[in-house]
C-alpha cells in the first residue's frame, strides 16, 4: 500500500455521485501504489472539476474546457508524473470538445475521467452535450432539441486506445476501471455515469442503477467494430466496462526528443546547440 490521499471538505451536495468517484479515485491510486507527490490532478471548471481540490496531490485547475491541452503538455514535460484529468461532461465534450478529439489523436499517456451527469451542474442545470433529447432544463424550457453525443462511441471512432464506461454507484467496478485506465499507456477515457441530485431529476441514481449492466466477459475489446456496436447501446440498457482497448505506441515512444532520453524537464540546456544553429546562418 502506498501513501494515502487525504480528504478535504467538499462543496458538493449531499448525495452527489462525485463523492464516490472521489473515493474510488483515491482507492485506485493507493492500490496502484502511486506516490501522491508524483500525481498531477488536472481539471477544467465545473462541479466535477473541483475534484483536484479534494485530494492531496499536485493540482492544475485551469480554464473551463481546457484541461486536456494543459494536462497533455504537463505530461510531455515530465513523463514521471501520473497525469489524471477529472472533469465534467460539459467541460470535456462541450467547451472542450475539440481538445477531446485531438487529445485522442495525440495519444499522450494521460487518463481522462469524465464525471458524466448529463447536465451542467455548477451553472445550475442547463443541457450538456450528453443530455437526452427532450430533457427539459433551465435553459431548454421546451426540451433539449439537440441529439446527445455518445462519448464512448465518439472516442472509439476518433481513435482512442482505451475506452470504458462506469457508474459512480458501482464503486468496485469504477475502481477497477480507474486502475485499468491509469495503467494503460496512452490516452485513456472512462466516461462515468454520475447522478446530479440537484439538477438532473431524470438521470438519477436509480435510473442508472436499473439500466447498467456489465459487458459480457467474452466481449472482445480488441475488436473495434464490435466495440462500436456495443457502444451504440445506450437507453433502456447501458453496458459498462472496457469497450475498447488497443496497444499502440504513445506519444513519448514515438517522439525523438522524448523517447530515448530522460524526461524533458530533466534534459539540460547545452549552449553549443545555439552556437551550432547560429553557424547555419553565417
Amino acid at each position: 500500500m502506498g501513501k494515502s490521499f487525504s480528504t478535504y471538505e467538499t462543496a458538493w451536495c449531499p448525495g452527489c455521485g462525485n463523492f464516490s468517484i472521489l473515493r474510488c479515485l483515491k482507492t485506485a491510486l493507493e492500490e496502484l501504489n502511486i506516490d501522491p507527490a508524483k500525481v498531477l490532478m488536472a481539471a477544467g471548471i465545473g462541479q466535477a472539476a473541483k475534484t483536484p481540490q479534494y485530494i492531496s496531490a499536485n493540482t492544475f485547475c485551469g480554464l473551463h474546457g481546457r484541461s486536456l491541452p494543459a494536462a497533455t503538455a504537463a505530461k510531455i514535460a515530465n513523463e514521471n508524473l501520473t497525469v489524471i484529468v477529472n472533469t465534467g461532461d460539459g467541460d470535456s465534450y462541450g467547451e472542450g470538445g475539440n481538445h477531446f478529439i485531438h487529445a485522442i489523436r495525440r495519444n499522450v499517456n494521460i487518463t481522462h475521467f469524465v464525471h458524466d451527469n448529463q447536465i451542467y451542474g455548477l451553472t445550475k442545470g442547463q443541457s450538456s452535450p450528453t443530455t437526452a433529447e427532450g430533457h427539459v432544463t433551465n435553459a431548454q424550457a421546451d426540451g433539449n432539441l439537440n441529439y446527445p453525443l455518445n462519448p464512448v462511441l465518439l472516442a472509439i471512432a476518433a481513435g482512442a486506445g482505451f475506452v470504458a464506461r462506469s457508474f459512480s454507484g458501482d464503486t468496485k467496478h469504477l475502481t477497477e476501471m480507474m486502475k485499468a485506465a491509469i495503467s494503460y499507456k496512452g490516452y485513456a477515457l472512462v466516461d462515468i455515469l454520475q447522478p446530479c441530485v440537484s439538477f438532473n431529476k431524470i438521470n438519477t441514481f436509480s435510473y442508472y442503477k436499473e439500466r447498467v449492466y456489465y459487458l459480457e466477459t467474452d466481449h472482445d475489446y480488441t475488436d473495434k467494430a464490435a466495440a462500436m456496436i456495443r457502444a451504440m447501446e445506450f437507453g433502456d440498457r447501458i453496458p459498462i466496462g472496457i469497450f475498447y482497448r488497443e496497444e499502440k505506441p504513445d506519444y513519448h515512444t514515438k517522439h525523438k526528443v522524448l523517447a530515448s532520453k530522460m524526461p524533458l524537464v530533466d534534459q539540460k540546456y547545452d549552449p553549443m546547440i545555439v552556437q551550432n544553429l547560429m553557424n547555419e546562418f553565417v
Partner: protein, 556 residues
C-alpha cells in the same frame, strides 16, 4: 549602398533567387537587408522582394531601385517607376515591351538545362556578375539554397547567367562576411532556444508560422518539443501546462490567433504560471491581410483578457531584439511568474538582415527560476513583500504544487473571502513594482538638442533610424527619436525628459489610430502634436518618413 527588386508570380521561385543572391552578397562582405512583399496565395498574383546591400549597416528597405530583376513582365510594369536614372532591368529575352533592359534567354536556357525552374537562378548568376561578386563561396551558397538533387543544374544556371552579363557596379568591399543572415522569426526562435525553450506549441498562422517550422526542423538538435496544436486555445493552454510542469514554454501566432489566446493569458496571470506569447502582427481586423504588416495590436495586447493582472509587453525593434529580448522575455516571465507578450510583425519576421553572431553571455538565464526547498510546508501562493511567491516544480519532492484559475488562498484552495481576494490581487499587482524597476528605456536616436521628437515602437525602429540620419544631415540636427522596445508597462523617464524639450512630438506608427500616442497620453499626459500613420499593409521606409517630415516643414 545598392538596392534591387526581384519580382514575379507566386510559385516562380523568387525565394530561391533571393536566397542565392543575399547569401552570395553577404559572403562577399556586404551587409544585406532583404524584405518580402508576398500575396496570400500559393500560385500567381504578384510577389516581390527587395535586397539592399552595401558596406555599412542598413536598417530599412528603400523604394529607390538600382535594378529590377523581373521574372515576369508584370514586375516591370509595376515597379519601373521606382528605378533610379541609371538603374537596370534584367529580364528574359522574350519579354515584350519597349524598355531598355539586360535580356537573357533565361526560360529557354533553363529548359535546355533540363529544369524550367532554374531560370531564376540564371538571373541570380547575372546579378552577381553585374555587382562584381566573385564565386568563392558559391558552392556553399547553393548548398543551403537548393535541394541536393538540383545542385548541379543550379550551378550550371548560375554560371550561365554570370557569363551572359557584364559587370556594371564595382564591389565596395565590406566586413560582414562572418556575420549571420537571419530573419526576425528565426532570430526569435533562436532567442527562445538560447533561453532554454523546451516546449513550443502553436497553430499555423501567417506570418508566425516560420517560427514553428524552424523549431520543428531543429527539434531534435535543440531538444525542443514542437507540438502543432488543434487550435490556438490549445496551443497556449499547452504552453501553460508545460510551464507549470517545469519547462520553459512558448507559443506564437498572429493577431487572430492571439485573439483566441486571450482567456488563457488571464490563467497565466492568476495561476502565476510564466508563459511567453509572441504576436507576429499582420493587418486586421479578423483575417485582414494575411501576409502583410501592421502594428495594430498594441492596445489590444496590453489590455487583453478580462480582469486585472500584471503582464509585460516587449516590442521587437530589430534582429538583435528578436534574439536578446525574446530570451529576456523568458527570464522576466519566470522571475515574475507572469505572461510576457512579444510583439513582432510581418516586416520584422520576414525581413532578413545581416547580424553579428549573438553573444550568449548576454542571456540572463536558461532554466526556470525555482526556489530552494527552504520551507517545511510548501505554500504555493505565499504572500510576500515583492508579490513573488516561491515557485517549485511538481513531482520533484515531497510537496504539492497547486494552480488555480479561481481566486485562491495562499495554499491554492478556492476562496470566496473578500479579504483574501484583496490580498491576492494586491500581491499579484505588487509584482509590477519590481518589473518597473527593470524596464529598458526607449533608445534615443539623433540630436540631443532636437526640436522635433519622433516616437515609434517595434519594427519602425530601423526606418526611423535611417530617417533621423537623413533628416539631421539636412537640418543640421533638429531631429531626435525615441523608439520603444519595452512598451508595457511604459517606461517614461526618457520620454518625459525629451518631450519637455521638444517643440514637435510626432508618433510614427503602422496603424490607423495612433496606438502608442494614446498609450503615452494615458500614462504621462503627453500629447503628440502630429503623427505619421500608415496602414496599407506595407512598411514605411526611412526615405518615406524623411520625405513626409520635410514636406510638412519640420526641417525648417
Amino acid at each position: 549602398m545598392y538596392n534591387i527588386l526581384i519580382g514575379g508570380a507566386a510559385g516562380q521561385g523568387i525565394d530561391t533567387t533571393v536566397s542565392i543572391l543575399e547569401k552570395a552578397f553577404k559572403k562577399s562582405g556586404y551587409f544585406v537587408y532583404t524584405v518580402k512583399d508576398f500575396m496570400s496565395r500559393v500560385r500567381g498574383g504578384h510577389n516581390f522582394m527587395l535586397i539592399r546591400f552595401g558596406n555599412e549597416e542598413i536598417t530599412s528597405h528603400s523604394n529607390k531601385l538600382d535594378g529590377i530583376i523581373a521574372l515576369n513582365e508584370e514586375t516591370i510594369r509595376l515597379h519601373q517607376s521606382k528605378l533610379k536614372k541609371d538603374g537596370f532591368i534584367l529580364c528574359d529575352s522574350n519579354f515584350k515591351g519597349d524598355f531598355e533592359a539586360i535580356r537573357i534567354p533565361m526560360e529557354e536556357k533553363a529548359k535546355e538545362f533540363g529544369n524550367p525552374r532554374v531560370s531564376g537562378t540564371i538571373a541570380a548568376g547575372a546579378v552577381l556578375k553585374i555587382f562584381g561578386v566573385d564565386f568563392n563561396h558559391l558552392e556553399n551558397v547553393l548548398d543551403t539554397s537548393v535541394k541536393k538533387a538540383y545542385f548541379q543544374v543550379n550551378m550550371q544556371a548560375v554560371h550561365y547567367g554570370y557569363e551572359a552579363t557584364d559587370n556594371i557596379y564595382p564591389h565596395m568591399g565590406g566586413k560582414y562576411k562572418d556575420f549571420m543572415l537571419i530573419n526576425g522569426n528565426q532570430a526569435l526562435a533562436l532567442g527562445a532556444i538560447a533561453a532554454g525553450l523546451k516546449f513550443y506549441s502553436a497553430y499555423p498562422m501567417s506570418p508566425a508560422t516560420p517560427i514553428m517550422e524552424y523549431l520543428s526542423r531543429h527539434s531534435t538538435a535543440a531538444g525542443v518539443v514542437m507540438e502543432q496544436a488543434e487550435d490556438e486555445i490549445a496551443a497556449i493552454n499547452m504552453a501553460i501546462g508545460a510551464s507549470y510542469a517545469g519547462v520553459r514554454a512558448m507559443t506564437a501566432t498572429s493577431g487572430g490567433g492571439f485573439s483566441l489566446m486571450v482567456e488563457a493569458l488571464g490563467l497565466s496571470g492568476i495561476a502565476e504560471i510564466p508563459v511567453v506569447v509572441a504576436d507576429v502582427q499582420r493587418p486586421g481586423p479578423a483575417t485582414g491581410l494575411p501576409t502583410r504588416t501592421e502594428q495594430s495590436d498594441l492596445k489590444f495586447v496590453i489590455s487583453a483578457s478580462h480582469g486585472e493582472f500584471p503582464r509585460m509587453v516587449i516590442a521587437l525593434r530589430n534582429h538583435e531584439d528578436a534574439f536578446y529580448q525574446t530570451a529576456r522575455a523568458f527570464h522576466l516571465a519566470d522571475k515574475y511568474q507572469i505572461p510576457v507578450i512579444i510583439l513582432s510583425d510581418q516586416y520584422l519576421g520576414d525581413t532578413t538582415s545581416t547580424v553579428k553572431k549573438y553573444d550568449l553571455s548576454e542571456i540572463p538565464s536558461n532554466a526556470p527560476l525555482v526556489s530552494a526547498a527552504d520551507e517545511t510546508k510548501y505554500i504555493r501562493y505565499r504572500i510576500t513583500e515583492n508579490g513573488i511567491s516561491p515557485r517549485r516544480i511538481p513531482g520533484k519532492g515531497d510537496y504539492f504544487v497547486t494552480a488555480d484559475s479561481d481566486e485562491h488562498d495562499e495554499y491554492g484552495f478556492i476562496t470566496e473571502s473578500a479579504d483574501v481576494r484583496v490580498k491576492m490581487v494586491d500581491k499579484r499587482m505588487r509584482k509590477l513594482e519590481g518589473l518597473m524597476e527593470e524596464l529598458i528605456e526607449p533608445e534615443f536616436l539623433g540630436d540631443e538638442d532636437c526640436t522635433t521628437l519622433l516616437l515609434g515602437w517595434g519594427s519602425t525602429y530601423g526606418p526611423i533610424r535611417e530617417a533621423i540620419t537623413t533628416l539631421n544631415d539636412i537640418s543640421g540636427g533638429k531631429f531626435g527619436a525615441l523608439v520603444f522596445g519595452d512598451i508595457y508597462p511604459l517606461p517614461v523617464k526618457a520620454l518625459t525628459k525629451y518631450a519637455k524639450k521638444a517643440k514637435n512630438i510626432i508618433n510614427i506608427e503602422q496603424n490607423a489610430t495612433g496606438q502608442l500616442a494614446s498609450l503615452i497620453r494615458e500614462v504621462t499626459g503627453i500629447k503628440c502634436t502630429g503623427s505619421i500613420l500608415k496602414y496599407d499593409g506595407r512598411q514605411i521606409s526611412g526615405e518615406e518618413i524623411a520625405d513626409r517630415l520635410i514636406k510638412e516643414g519640420y526641417n525648417g
